[in-house]
């Protein structure tokens, strides 16, 4: 189950250097085990995470995006985590409008000592994303994929738009039918 097969969720995890990243390091030092689906990208602060990055990750085939920051009140940079919270909250609403499940984007607080919490959050998030199924721009079956990774930034946008647009559109329609939007 720990093995990422072809259908296994692919996740990008933005971890802040001070809390979530240190917690992840401590999980390693403590030899805790969690699924290997999330590729960590270290940022100085969760407040550095641009909503555009989350969108880009989903466009590039991620099934979920995890952002780990310091607990409220503990941010190494005073208040970056609050700013992250506002941005990600807004982004999730926009994603919902676009027919993308907001549960694909998680923002969690993990302190530098909470290795067990990090392990649990990672395990749960992988399970949650797996339950949601492939992401809006999930990679096509192996072999037919290369343009995403090899093309330059502008070409990527076009490539994803053409290869993935049909699927999200119909899926969005499906979802819109049974979704009760809160606004």
């Amino acid at each position: 189950m720990d093995e990422p097969g072809p259908s296994d969720p692919r996740i990008v995890a933005f971890l802040c250097r001070w809390c979530a990243g240190s917690g992840a390091d401590l999980a390693g030092t403590s030899r805790m085990q969690y699924p290997p689906n999330a590729i960590p990208i270290r940022v100085n602060c969760s407040g550095r995470v641009e909503p555009e990055w989350v969108v880009e990750a989903l466009k590039a085939g991620a099934d979920g995006v995890f952002i780990g920051g310091c607990h409220p009140g503990d941010c190494h940079y005073v208040s970056g985590n609050y700013k992250a919270r506002r941005r990600i909250h807004l982004l999730r609403r926009v994603l919902a409008e676009l027919g993308i499940e907001p549960q694909r984007v998680a923002l969690e607080w993990v302190s530098a000592t909470e290795a067990a919490r990090f392990t649990r959050l990672m395990t749960d998030f992988v399970a949650q994303v797996r339950a949601l199924g492939p992401g809006p721009y999930a990679r096509p079956p192996a072999g037919a994929e290369p343009e995403l990774a090899t093309a330059g930034p502008s070409a990527t946008a076009t490539a994803t738009a053409s290869s993935g647009a049909a699927r999200p559109a119909e899926r969005a329609a499906e979802r819109a039918a049974d979704r009760r939007a809160p606004w």
Binding site: P35, I39, V49, G152
Partner: protein, 661 residues
């Protein structure tokens, strides 16, 4: 893979570390090296058993020179471990150190996963760092001047020691203490284990030294309000509460105490004695002056009561004294905020603090102390009788994850042995029982001390927990079990002493909040590395000393304080500090001057104008402004949006099954 970037001059080298078996056991290092070497822009790749070893670093240096590398990725342990090592090696080979990045494939891959997915993840992590290095620029560290004063928070034995050591090294110290006097809990102790030195007698000379040290400025009855700034240049706000007594005028005659009509429980005596509203915590207090406690005074209003002021011959009492806020610049901070005992009110099984003859360790210290409320005679609080049978309960609140706290408080085995021994010295025909889980007497001469208590003083050690303590008549009934004989034990005791768990003081939580320090789940301050950086907080320029960091005894607290002092002096004595050059930067061509970034910055590092301007020395590189900039004009050096977008794509791209090198 074709690409427009990197094809020209980018020559990246990839170095994969086995870390013995730490990485190589779960990551196929050969496949990882092969896959990473096949990445666009990578011209050289190798793997080695221990890259951090001298031969490993030699390989790195030689490859940088031989292959004219313009960037390096070391796939190894967390950057918090060896980033400095490898960047130094790169610099030695004339590669700008900021062109080297670490891919963390140990803590975040090889140690946390098993199976082939681990190698895939390691490759993906490596690829993100290759993309990052492609966008990195050579940078030079910024130099910053700094303050050469030190702030010590907490005036217990750890804070006193740290303050003295820093001051003796030639630097000014601000010592902030919440209580009216420095001394901390150590002044409350009667004797100290294992030598049975009188605690006050060894502490007070240090307190006097603090009082007279030309480079220590003592701010008693003061609290840290807020902290801003960064290593070397912290700006601290300290609130000085009014004592309503001018310490320069007060001659300690004590007439005011006689005149004061108020009596409240004394904090120093833990409620075993009373004090007036105007008081000195104990005779040797430093600063040596009285304090008028606003909360218990009849109202600081001469119309209601001015008895103390009327009898004060030197006119030291000033009801109009105001609270003061001091703003000071300091270069380093030592946090020595200490501990408290887990409240006995939390012990439902031991009477929840309602039985007068169930007391905690500190209260018993006061009963034993020659300066205490009973002048050193052991008398129980309820009726003042000398207890003939006394029960000591160890691990009260400690080592009890179900009901109380999971940690071992470390000092209780020793002080309980001391308590029982001192009790036997005071009451020769008394019987002392000690209930324990195990006796942990790790320390120089500690085991011998406990043996002396057990054998010479014939103290009854019963291995087992106490299930219940309750009042019956004038006795305190103790129901326990002796697990070595398997029998239930019932003792009709006169006095029960609980070795309550050590918990961080309230001041520790306040300091952690003000300084944004990480804490463990119990609230003890977290060190930067549990083994190798035990004196440092993760925040640069902040050091930890004493029991605020974890349970410890006096010699350990003193040793840690001296260590923290040396660490602080390391900063204070440096001619210049370096500051990371990986800070925010404005592209003036793109900036419209909208100033959205300005309120984002928690450090006030951005000045608005036609275009925003960043003060590089104030910038701490969080990048919050970058994420907020609507025109993409703000960027973080060597962590630009473009870099991260490439990192994201490389993290998600497929890994080719067959790799051509």
């Amino acid at each position: 893979m074709p690409s427009t970037r990197g094809a020209r001059a980018t020559r990246i080298g990839v170095f994969v570390c086995h870390c013995g078996k730490n990485i190589a056991a779960t990551v196929d290092v050969e496949r990882a090296t092969e896959a990473l070497t096949a990445q666009d822009g990578v011209v050289y790749g190798t793997h080695h058993e221990y890259l951090c070893s001298d031969p490993g670093q030699e390989i790195l240096k030689r490859a940088i020179r031989d292959h004219h590398l313009t960037g390096v990725v070391v796939a190894a342990c967390s950057p918090s471990m060896h980033e400095v090592t490898f960047r130094r090696a790169a610099a030695a080979a004339d590669l700008n150190p900021y062109l080297l990045e670490i891919a963390n494939i140990r803590e975040q891959a090889s140690w946390v996963h098993r199976g082939p997915g681990t190698t895939d993840k390691a490759i993906r992590i490596g690829r993100t760092m290759i993309e990052k290095v492609k966008g990195n620029h050579p940078l030079e560290a910024l130099e910053v001047s700094h303050s050469s004063r030190c702030l010590v928070i907490g005036g217990g034995i750890a804070g006193i020691q740290a303050a003295l050591d820093v001051a003796d090294a030639g630097f000014e110290v601000l010592l902030v203490e919440k209580q009216p006097s420095i001394a901390g809990h150590m002044a409350q102790l009667s004797e100290t284990f294992p030598t049975l030195d009188c605690s006050q007698c060894i502490l007070t000379p240090k307190m006097v030294e603090v009082a007279h040290h030309p480079r220590i400025r003592l701010l008693a009855y003061s609290e840290l309000e807020s902290v801003s700034g960064y290593i070397g240049n912290y700006r601290v706000r300290i609130r000085r509460k009014p004592t309503y007594v001018d310490p320069d005028k007060c001659n300690l005659c004590g007439d005011c105490v006689q005149a004061c009509p108020v009596r409240v429980p004394s904090e120093f005596e833990l409620g075993l004695a009373e004090r007036a509203a105007i008081y000195i915590p104990f005779p040797q207090a430093v600063p040596s002056s009285y304090t008028l406690d606003e909360a218990s005074c009849l109202g600081l209003n001469p119309l209601r009561c001015d008895k103390c002021s009327r009898v004060c011959e030197v006119n030291a009492i000033d009801y109009d004294m105001r609270e003061e806020i001091l703003e000071e610049e300091v270069g380093a901070i030592v946090v020595a905020t200490g501990f408290d005992l887990y409240p006995k009110e939390a012990m439902a099984e031991y009477g929840r603090g309602t039985i007068p003859d169930v007391i905690d360790g500190f209260e018993f210290e006061r009963l034993l102390s020659a300066s205490g409320p009973t002048r050193g005679e052991v008398r129980r609080p309820s009726d003042g009788r000398v207890p003939r049978e006394i029960v000591f309960i160890q691990c009260s609140g400690s080592r009890d994850p179900e009901l109380h706290l999971p940690h071992c408080s470390k000092i209780c085995c020793m002080y309980t042995a001391k308590h029982a021994l001192l009790y036997r010295h005071a009451v020769h025909d008394g019987t002392a029982y000690v209930f324990y889980i195990d006796v942990r007497a790790g320390g120089k001469d500690y085991e011998e001390f406990v043996n002396r208590a057990m054998e010479d003083e014939r103290i009854l050690y019963l291995r087992g927990k106490v299930a219940k303590v309750f009042q019956q008549g004038d006795k305190v009934m103790v129901w326990g079990v002796d697990t070595l004989t398997g029998r239930r034990v019932e003792v009709a005791a006169d006095l029960v002493v609980l070795a309550q768990a050590m918990v961080p003081s309230d001041g520790t939580a306040d300091a952690a909040r003000a300084l944004r320090l990480a804490c463990s789940s119990e609230g003890f301050l977290k060190e930067a590395h549990p083994k190798l950086r035990p004196l440092e907080a993760l925040t640069g320029g902040v050091f930890l000393a004493g029991a605020a960091q974890g349970p410890k005894d006096i010699p350990e607290a003193v040793a840690q304080a001296s260590g923290a002092a040396v660490k602080a002096v390391g900063i204070l004595a440096a001619p210049m500090l370096t500051h990371s050059p990986e800070v925010a930067e404005v592209d003036e061509a793109l900036c419209s001057g909208c100033a959205i970034c300005v309120p984002q910055c928690p450090y006030g590092a951005i000045t608005p104008g036609t275009t925003a301007r960043v003060n590089e020395l104030l910038c701490e590189s969080c990048g919050t402004c970058v994420a907020a900039c609507p025109s993409g004009a703000m960027t973080l050096r060597n962590m630009s949006g473009t870099q991260v977008l490439s990192m994201i794509r490389s993290a998600l791209a497929e890994i080719p099954q067959t790799v051509e090198a």
